[in-house]
């Protein structure tokens, strides 16, 4: 009976560890897909095998293992490399134009269509 309990405990620990590792890998992939590889042409850290990307992947994995939050990892990366490292930069006075351009284009297009329709009537 004791041996059965021990085997069960070991199996439980192994499965628990594997699931935890899988979760960390999943989160590492999720975070590194939103980080830009600064030495590559339009690739994310996740997609690149460059030294820089490998360093970042290792860092993210280690921080997640230590229990760091996603927000903490992103803010650390931004503090070291700026907003440019994020594929999805936050709204700030520097990026306001970037966020507004699509809406301006839509507005401009809507005005043109409205004028055309009005003239045709």
């Amino acid at each position: 009976m004791k041996i059965f309990k021990l085997v069960f405990l070991i199996l439980f620990l192994i499965i628990g560890q594997t699931l935890a590792n899988e979760e960390i890998e999943k989160k590492t992939a999720q975070i590194t897909k939103n980080l830009r590889c600064l030495v590559c042409q339009g690739q994310s850290v996740y997609d690149s095998n460059s030294d820089f990307a490998e360093d970042i992947k290792l860092y993210v994995r280690e921080e997640l293992t230590k229990g760091a939050s996603e927000k903490k990892i992103y803010s650390y990366m931004v503090s070291k490399y700026g907003d440019w490292i994020l594929f999805n930069p936050p709204l700030s006075y520097k990026s306001i134009f970037l966020w507004l351009i699509p809406f301006l284009f839509i507005l401009f297009g809507a005005i043109i269509i409205y004028r055309k329709v009005k003239i045709e009537k």
Binding site: L38, V39, D51, F52, D55, Y59, S79, K80
Partner: protein, 173 residues
């Protein structure tokens, strides 16, 4: 209010001319992004093991109130060999340079320094790349200028040159 045909042509031409110049100048620019967020900031805590004797070193306490350079290098990096003579020049002008040996092997790094001479005041091993991330670096070689108050004044990406050596000599004065 209707726009006259000539006005429309002028507006469209202006847009196209502006776009042409934007693309013309943007294509000529380097597409390598140079992160400058670390410039002006305090030097982060840089500690690691010495290449010479494997002892733990804390740069912030070791070089208190001193002007120095941090140079990220590796024995496998060809541009590092190219800039080596300039690092030797800086050493001859009594400028302290701390080497961060990035993703290298101890044996190769020591051989590299024996062969080309050692310009470094101290070399710290960074075989996991964490120290380089801490500095906001993304490749080799990179050189950081640190003032007496341990602020990062500037950084240079790629091999340093004669112009850089002159600038450093001026700053040291």
């Amino acid at each position: 209010m209707q726009l006259k045909k000539e006005h429309k042509v002028i507006i469209v031409s202006c847009i196209f001319i502006s776009l042409f110049f934007i693309f013309y100048f943007s294509l000529g620019k380097s597409n390598q992004h140079n992160p400058t967020v670390m410039i002006g900031k305090k030097l982060p805590n840089i500690s690691g093991n010495s290449l010479e004797n494997d002892k733990k070193i804390n740069l912030n306490s070791k070089l208190k109130n001193e002007f120095f350079l941090i140079n990220i290098f590796a024995s496998w990096c060809a541009p590092c060999m190219e800039e080596h003579k300039h690092l030797m020049d800086l050493k001859s002008f009594k400028i302290k340079i701390v080497g961060i040996n990035y993703k290298d092997s101890e044996q190769n790094a020591k051989q590299f320094l024996r062969k080309l001479n050692d310009p470094y005041f101290e070399v710290i091993k960074d075989y996991s790349g964490k120290l380089s991330i801490e500095l906001g670096a993304y490749g080799v070689p990179e050189t950081y200028i640190i003032d007496k108050n341990h602020n990062i004044i500037s950084k240079h990406i790629g091999p340093i040159n004669e112009k850089f050596v002159k600038e450093i000599r001026e700053l040291k004065k």
